[in-house]
Homo-oligomer: 261 residues x 4
C-alpha cells in the first residue's frame, strides 16, 4: 500500500525536486499540492491544488504532509496537519523552541509522527555526528567549508552547527603554537574556543564541508560534498517512511539514524 | 599514583616509540623490559631487562604489560601476565579465536582487564566504525587506499578490514552502470560484493585510506592519513588507562570507544 | 564592435549553454542558428534559423561559426564556413587526420583562423599540460578519475589522453614493489607502461580527474573537477576571441594557451 | 667519471640527508666536509673535515660545493668556492640582491656554474610555476596551506611566495560576493589583492600547500605534500648535475626546469 503525500510549496526549488522524487518512488502517491499563492490555477497533472491548508487537510485523504515552505507559513501548516491526523515532514531550522514544544504536545496527543529537520542531506548529518564522536578523541580540530562565490555569509550555517556539536564532546584546548603569529591578518581563520574555521568562496564550488582532526602522526578527515538539491531528497524520502512508524515528534534527522556501531 | 608498565619488545620500532610515550606521560612509570633476545645486556637507564617472562612478572611489581612482540611469543607473554595479575595491552591481529577465548577465560577468572587490538591508531579505528555506520545509509561505496611503493600486498589489511565492516551494514547492491566496460583491465579496481577498492602505490606516500560514499547529489568521504608510528601511541596510551578499569578482555580498540551520538 | 556568431546545434545541451554564454557576453552577437532538423520552425528570439549551411553562410554576415554538432555534420559545416570566410570554432575529437589536414589547407588559403578542440574545459586542458610537464621530473605517477555511476567506459577519455601526454615526457620506469601481489584482482588498477589508472564510479560524482606524482618525501597532485557544462563555456568564449586573431588552423585548446613560466 | 662533492654543514638535518643522498648516488663522490664548529674532530668515514673554507677549497680537488649552512656563513663559502673554481649549490633564500649580483659576476668571470635555490623541493617549485601559469586563465584563486601545530608563522613562506607568483599573471579582480559578511572574524582568511589564503595548523600534519582555481562549473587544484626532508634531496641531486653544465649563476630551481609544453 502506498503512502499518500501532500506537498506544501510545490513551486519552489525544493518543492519541484520533491515532486519528482515522490513520483518516482513506487510506494509514494502524490495526492495534493498546498500552494498559498496559487490564485486558482490548476495544473496539468490533475493533482488538486489547495490554497487553504485546513480545507486541504479536511478534504484530502493523506498520510503525510511534506512542507517545504517558510518557517512562518510552515508552522501553521504543521499545526493544522497534526490536528487533522496527517503526519508532517518539515524542512526548516526556523521554528522557535516554544513552537516545537507546542507541536510536540500535539503529536503526543494525536499519537502520530512528526519530523522536523533543519537539514535533510543524510551525508551532511552523518558528517556532523561523526565529527561530534571524533571530537572526544581528537581535541585538535579545524573546519574548512567551501561554497560558490555568491554566498553572502561566512562561515556557513552547517559549519557553525558542526562547530557546536564538536564543542559538546571536545575537551577545551588551546590549539596551535602558543606564540603563533599571523603575518597576514585572518590567515588562521575564524576562531571559537580554539577551533579554527576557514571559508573558501570560488565559482565552480557548490557546497562542501571538511572537518580535520589531527593527532600525533595521524589525521582523520570527514568530508561532505553537496552537488545539488537532490542531496536532500534521500532524507525526505527516509523521513516519509519513518514518520509513519512514529507516535511522537522527532527534531533533527540525526535522531532517526541508527549510529551505534 | 602512576601506572607501572612493563614493555615486551623494547628494541622494535613500535617498542622504541612506546618507551618514549611512556616516559613522557606523567602518570605512567616504566618498570621493566621483557626482551627475549637480550643476551644478558643491561641498559643505561637502570630499568631491569628480563629474558624470562615468568621471572619478570613474578619479580617486578607492575600494573600493565604492553606487548609489542610477535603473535607467537605474545600469546605466552599475555597468558603469563594474566596469571600473575598483570593487565596485558597487546597489539596484534595474529591470535587464533581459541587463543583469545582462553585469554578471555583467564581474565574473567582473575577479574582483571586485558586489551588486544589489531590496530592502535584511533583515527583508523574511527574511520572503520564511521564507514560501517554510513554504509547503512549509502550502499554505493568505494575505497581508495594509498601506500608507499615498497608495500608488497594490495589492498592493505586495513582496507580489507574496512570492507568487511561495511558489508555488515550494507544492503547488497550492484554498483555502477550494468553495462560498464573496462577498456583497460583493472581500471575499476578490485571488487567484493559490488564494492570497488583501489590501491595506489607511490614513493612519498606513507599510509592513507579513504572511503567514499555516493548518493544522489552528494558525497560523503572519510579519510585517515597515518604519517608515522606515533599514530599508534595515542591508542596504546588510552589502552593502558582503560585496561586498569576493566575486569574482562576487550578485543579491538573500537570496543573501548564511546561512539553513540 | 561585436563579434557576430552563428551557432550550429543550438538545441543540444552544449548548444543551449553556448547560446546563454554568447547572449551574456557584451562583445558577442548571435546572428543565426544552423539547425538541420529544424523543419521550418522559427524561434521567438527573431534570430534566423537555417537548415542549409551554405545558404546560411552566404546570407548571414557572420565572423565566427561555433559548431557543437556531430563530427560527421561538423566537418561539412566547417569546410563550408571556411569557404565563406567565416571562422570555425569546433568542439570535437572526431575528425580524421586527413580531414584536419584538408581544413588546415583551406584556412591557410583563406588566411583566416579555425580552432578545433576536443576539450573546451580550460581547467582540464591545464591539468593535462601540467601533468605532461611534471612527468619529466616525477616518473612515478598514478591517475584517479571519478565519474557518476552511469558512465559506461572506464577509464575516461580524458584520463587516457592525460596518460598519453604523460608518456611523451616520462622516463620509462617499472613502478611499485617488484614483487607486488594483488590479493584482490584489479586492486592496483589499470596499467599502461607501468602507470596505474583507477576509475571510481559513484552517484553524486560528476567528472573529476586527479594525477598524483610521487617522489622521495613528497607528493604533487593536479586535480580537475568539472561540475557541469558551464565548464566548457570559458574555453569557447576564449576561442571565439582568439580565432579572430589567427590566420591558420589550431588543433587543441592547449595550443592557444601561453604556458611558459 | 664521478662528480666530487664537498658538503658544508654536514651535521645539520639537511646536511645529514645530503650525505646519505650523495653516498647512495653512484656518480657522486663525497670528498670533504666543511664544518666551522668541528673543533678538530675527525670522522670515522675517513673523509677529511675542514674548518677553514679557503684551506679546504685549496687542498681538496672538488667539482661542487653543496652549502647547507646559514646565509651569513654561506655567502663567504660561496664566494671562496667560486674563486677556487668550485661550483656552488646553495640552499638559501637569505642572500641580499647585491650579494647575488656579486656572486653572479664572479661566476661569469670564472665561467663556471653556481646554483642558489630558496627551495630544493621540485614538487613545491612545480606547484608554484603551475599556479602562476593557471592564474592567467583563472583569476579566482584561494590558497590553503597546512602545517604541523608547532609552526610559528602563518601563512607559510612558500604560500606567500606562491601568492606573489600568482599576482604576476593574474588580472586584478575582487573575488567573492561584494556584500560578503564574516559572522566569525577571519573566517574568509588572510587577503592580498582579493586573493584569500588560509593556514591550517594541526598535529599530524607536516607541510602541505594547495592552490584552488575556480571557474564557471569547474575547479582546478594544484597540491604539494612534503612529508620529510628527503623531498629536498631530489632537487639538490639535480642541481649538482646541472651546475656542472652551466657557465653562469642561476637563482631559483624553476630556472633549471624545462616547463614549456
Amino acid at each position: 500500500m502506498s503512502i499518500k503525500v501532500i506537498i506544501a510549496g510545490p513551486r519552489g526549488k525544493m518543492g519541484r525536486e520533491a515532486i519528482q522524487m515522490i513520483e518516482s518512488t513506487e510506494h509514494f502517491q502524490l495526492v495534493a499540492y498546498l500552494d498559498r499563492k496559487n490564485k486558482g490555477r490548476t495544473n496539468e497533472s490533475a493533482i488538486p491544488v489547495y490554497e487553504d491548508p485546513d480545507k486541504c487537510f479536511a478534504e484530502v485523504q493523506a498520510d503525510v504532509l511534506v512542507d517545504l515552505t517558510t518557517p512562518e507559513v510552515g508552522f501553521s501548516h504543521t499545526e493544522s496537519a497534526l490536528k487533522h491526523g496527517i503526519r508532517p515532514v518539515v524542512g526548516t531550522s526556523g521554528f522557535k523552541p516554544e513552537e516545537i514544544d507546542e507541536l510536540k504536545k500535539l503529536a503526543d496527543e494525536k499519537k502520530i509522527g512528526c519530523i522536523i529537520a533543519p537539514n535533510f542531506a543524510v551525508g551532511a548529518v552523518l558528517l556532523m555526528q561523526f565529527a561530534k564522536m571524533a571530537a572526544k578523541y581528537f581535541p585538535d580540530v579545524e573546519i574548512i567549508e567551501k561554497h560558490h562565490d555568491q554566498k553572502l555569509d561566512a562561515p556557513s550555517g552547517t559549519a557553525m552547527k558542526t562547530l557546536e556539536l564538536i564543542k559538546e564532546n571536545r575537551t577545551a584546548k588551546a590549539q596551535g603554537h602558543p606564540n603563533e603569529i599571523e603575518t597576514l591578518a585572518g590567515a588562521r581563520g575564524g576562531e571559537s574556543e580554539g577551533i579554527r574555521i576557514h571559508s573558501v568562496r570560488l565559482p565552480g564550488l557548490v557546497a562542501h564541508e571538511e572537518v580535520l582532526f589531527g593527532g600525533n602522526g595521524q589525521l582523520l578527515t570527514i568530508k561532505h560534498d553537496s552537488m545539488n538539491r537532490q542531496s536532500f531528497m534521500e532524507g525526505i524520502k527516509m523521513s516519509i517512511d519513518e514518520v509513519m512508524k512514529l507516535d511522537h515528534l522527532v527534531y533533527g534527522l540525526e535522531n532517526l539514524l541508527e549510529l551505534n556501531n
